[in-house]
Symmetry: C4
Subunit: 372 residues, 4 copies
Amino acid sequence: MWPGDPAGAHDLSDVERAAAATLSPEVWDFIAGGSGRERSLDANREAFDRIFVASRVLRDVSACTTDATLLNRPVRMPVAVAPVAYHRLAHPEGELATARAAKTAGVPFTVATLSSVPVEEVTAVGGSVWFQLYWLRERRRSLDLARRAEDAGCEALMLTVDVPWMGRRLRDVRNGFALPGHVRAVHLDGGAASTAHRSPASGGSAVAAHTAQAFSPAVTWSCVEELRAATRLPLVVKGVLAPEDAVRAAGLGVDAVVVSNHGGRQLDGALPGIEALPEVAEAVGGACEVWVDGGIRSGTDVLKALASGADGVLVGRPPVWGLAAGGESGVRQVLDLLAAELRDALGLAGCAGVGAARELRTVRPAREPRRA
Amino acid sequence: MWPGDPAGAHDLSDVERAAAATLSPEVWDFIAGGSGRERSLDANREAFDRIFVASRVLRDVSACTTDATLLNRPVRMPVAVAPVAYHRLAHPEGELATARAAKTAGVPFTVATLSSVPVEEVTAVGGSVWFQLYWLRERRRSLDLARRAEDAGCEALMLTVDVPWMGRRLRDVRNGFALPGHVRAVHLDGGAASTAHRSPASGGSAVAAHTAQAFSPAVTWSCVEELRAATRLPLVVKGVLAPEDAVRAAGLGVDAVVVSNHGGRQLDGALPGIEALPEVAEAVGGACEVWVDGGIRSGTDVLKALASGADGVLVGRPPVWGLAAGGESGVRQVLDLLAAELRDALGLAGCAGVGAARELRTVRPAREPRRA
Amino acid sequence: MWPGDPAGAHDLSDVERAAAATLSPEVWDFIAGGSGRERSLDANREAFDRIFVASRVLRDVSACTTDATLLNRPVRMPVAVAPVAYHRLAHPEGELATARAAKTAGVPFTVATLSSVPVEEVTAVGGSVWFQLYWLRERRRSLDLARRAEDAGCEALMLTVDVPWMGRRLRDVRNGFALPGHVRAVHLDGGAASTAHRSPASGGSAVAAHTAQAFSPAVTWSCVEELRAATRLPLVVKGVLAPEDAVRAAGLGVDAVVVSNHGGRQLDGALPGIEALPEVAEAVGGACEVWVDGGIRSGTDVLKALASGADGVLVGRPPVWGLAAGGESGVRQVLDLLAAELRDALGLAGCAGVGAARELRTVRPAREPRRA
Amino acid sequence: MWPGDPAGAHDLSDVERAAAATLSPEVWDFIAGGSGRERSLDANREAFDRIFVASRVLRDVSACTTDATLLNRPVRMPVAVAPVAYHRLAHPEGELATARAAKTAGVPFTVATLSSVPVEEVTAVGGSVWFQLYWLRERRRSLDLARRAEDAGCEALMLTVDVPWMGRRLRDVRNGFALPGHVRAVHLDGGAASTAHRSPASGGSAVAAHTAQAFSPAVTWSCVEELRAATRLPLVVKGVLAPEDAVRAAGLGVDAVVVSNHGGRQLDGALPGIEALPEVAEAVGGACEVWVDGGIRSGTDVLKALASGADGVLVGRPPVWGLAAGGESGVRQVLDLLAAELRDALGLAGCAGVGAARELRTVRPAREPRRA
């Protein structure tokens, strides 16, 4: 039985249940919840369940492999650990445990601006580590943070562009969620307690208040240009849904865009990434890599993403479930399950590798777009 | 906890629950119910939940504002309080409390023909007050009422055109709903008891019987022309669903049309306003303002309406929930929540203002129209 | 409370509940059930619930009327009582009570081949009476029956063409349903007991066995021609779904076709009439009247049928519910409710009459047809 | 009541319930389960329930027959028993009982590579017997097995092409499912115990482990060519979903393709066969026969398959339900029910035979394909 025996988890829902049983309700809500009525959160999952794939057959899959490249570097599978704040909420070892598992599993790990462990300690783990950047109210600090990540050995910078401020996550608001004392935004506040640790007198989410204090709602395309000029690292822009925005990013020399509604945590009602993906991929036309996240809970979901036009995917909540339920080995179990499931799905779909998956035909419910 | 502490409501569903707990079942049914099998009532909500928005990113939203104009006058947000009958059913202060809250919140308040407080007392509150007109069986009284509203200082007239008579609201029929003695249609009956206060001997809704007595089922486009000629106030026509009707209204000099199925209370099976909106807006092409109502329960819903082509929205039941649960401060809480949610939604969608929201792309389930 | 006080029923679901409480489970199942998994039965209702109408406004509906013609004769509303077998299952007075109510309500009543009261007794009631014909194994008896109906004063003949044999109605099969001794197919068996009264030794529905004995599975278009030549009465063909069949019927001089899946009782999986209607009406192009049945439970449903291209509708189960729950007055209540609801729906949709309803625009979920 | 009296089952769901009550939970799960989240398993059924047929009328169906040909040989109906592993799991007589029932019912029976009874014993039963081939890791053994089947008197070879390895069937994995000692893959392991009988030390499905040992994931189109050259028997390729693959098979001289997602047991998320069918049939254009399987649970489903372009269908689980519940007579009951239901459906749809069924028009929900 899992946890205790990580091999006992047979799909990610086993890990999810184990995490839910481990964490306090408030922390579980912070991780699991979405914004508003959670329509985007639910739609992320529903969208995957309504996509079907026309498998191909009679193609030798004996050497089927999930090997891929992300940002022109080899990865064990086209999956990376998404930036997620405060891993120490889930486990005392926090980002260190997750990064170790990602390294062993052969997938990139993204350190968040809101990491609870300093980036230098994470890169010391080894493996491919990326750094996720929120543009801060003080422009200088943003660039300093980017430089610090580069100096620490991060291999890519990922600018999150869909958080001018935090969405209205009503679970946190109702819980008056605040960080416990031992968990801190080390890149922003160092060792000091912050707004994130005190429920606002007026009620609501302390984490949201802290974010509002730190992040800039004035982040624009010029910040992308500035960042592009300031670093030689590959640059990823995370959080686009409109084809025009993806095309513009590619035009500015961005190496990858992540089609995403931020796990249903920002605009409630934002289109699921997987639904926006086909048009974005078509518009970008290979000018940069196109990744997707939101709702990926199995290797089959990764296959559906590839078949819908993605070059790669990010997974956010599942590694944190693994972390909560089993520390490093729990995360490893999550990533190994995904790799095994993806290999299985590739082979069953007649694809010897991820390239072939992008040629698969998908079928989904008809939608009516309204172009403004 | 809300009510008691208005700040305790985190979204409109909190207010709805508080109102349901406060009001008698009969009054709750009168406010909440729809006609027939309540298909249109339910569809109004379902339609919003199935619309998704492709957010834009990297546009400076630090000065994000909900400021807008309605009928060329500045409003705090493109939202007005819809005409709703008999506010005193919900709270002893009735329309006075609602109008005060609307004034403070910076949004227009619409006095209904079936107001339980005289229009002059409402306009005395100040703020932007509009008057909703039902065309009465006696043409002269309709025009007198319009004149009275204008004299009282109302800033716009809103002619409701989808009530030749009241729809079959089965909750009221089964409840034999009649007005309590202290609530009266002061513009029609003065201080006198009326049909609306006595359950019909044959059963059914006293309010429907009263309406049938008072309203004209012979209201036509010539009434719009007559009203247009009789007043210099902006004129709004509420209750259109067919593009042809909206175009015709604009051609007669109407300043705004409200795309609406009357909150699911008139024809059961009438198309939700939000579903009719895109074609109406396209057909009108800016010849007048196009508003929508029906099912708007959050700032995200307002955003979806704007993205679907609306210049503004009306909210009907939510302010009455606030009124029932907390009087003036309850209404204020509802309007403040909407404004805060709308600002949040705008910013998260990459819109610094309501104009940008109209450029957003939406996705909804495919429909098959049959044109006669 | 209804029954007891027919005025106590506020919509047809009230009557349905009363009937279900009155009838034995076996008889209820015979009336309510469909064939197979009852997919067509359920889809008949679901289809109506997913159609929405774009109401029109500002058209004088003070003289709104449901008056119409069916087969060029005036009717109170474009609704007729569909042929239903064995009314005496529901009430001792059987078809006599139903016919009396239809006469008073001003709508045509259709006597079924499987009537439990002789056609001559029904026509003696007066009103507009039609006769429904199943083509029998003995061609001569079919024509004799048609002649008998004509001689009795029936005003139209309705040939049902979707019953080469009875569908697999599993409720009846599981119940081993057989007619009670006092209910007989008087046109076929006179006063004698028949197969319909004895559960087959091998189990199953006695009524189905009886039907198989009597009806011809060899009925073809030549029977329509023969019948057309044999009578001067208007001729209706009931049970078409394919546009080609409707066009062919019209070409043979048929006066009306009924688009129908036989209330979900024949082919399980047959398209609901209301879904087949728009294409059939368009194909027929006015060459004959086009009616629809299946799932009509309110005046709003009648409106949706008209707006989808129907000239009229049949209602089958609802009058039988009325009959079971309240005899003649129960049926009357059902028909009066429908008329009141239809007038209400017409007026609220901006239609002064049924002609205008056919010009309304409808919206329904997108479908993908496959043409063979 | 069924079982005990096979005539007591009125549709296949009766048989399914009887089987579920008879078998151990582990064996039931092995038969009933699908892979992953069982989305494809569920979608197979949902797809049929959302297809509707426009019946035709007035065509003589008195001589309605289900007679058809499959592979140019006469069959009682266009239905064959699909290959299913290990019938002795369901009943001690295993494949012998099923084959006897199929013979009596006049439909082909497919012996699986994973049969629990040797093919020679099955062909000794008589009737039309086909042999299903998995391409084995040792190419020579595959061809030997094909030859053995041909020598035994099998009338067709069916190469299953969607199992490079077994899908992740989580029910079996969680159950640690292994074959009981008396059930063996006699064509692969002779009388010896095998991997299939021992739950892996690491947990999981023994059957999957055994399959992985035996089957080749390197099966390609050249194997089809080799097999085509090696036998004069008709050759069927089972498990295609993409039109291109079906066209290619036909081009290589294959006599029939089976459009299938393997009963939802291989790629979870694979398109249901019935949804892929129309495009496949159109692309093949008669160059070979096109069959479908997955979710067929009634004669109406067979009709829908024919109307969607199929020349024939396979049924897998239902005969095994019959076998579990009643041995040979249970299987016979299943096949007789299907034949009776299909004849019923044909006649009610106005089709005197299966050829006419292919001309029927179907309606289904709109889908949005993405072509890579």
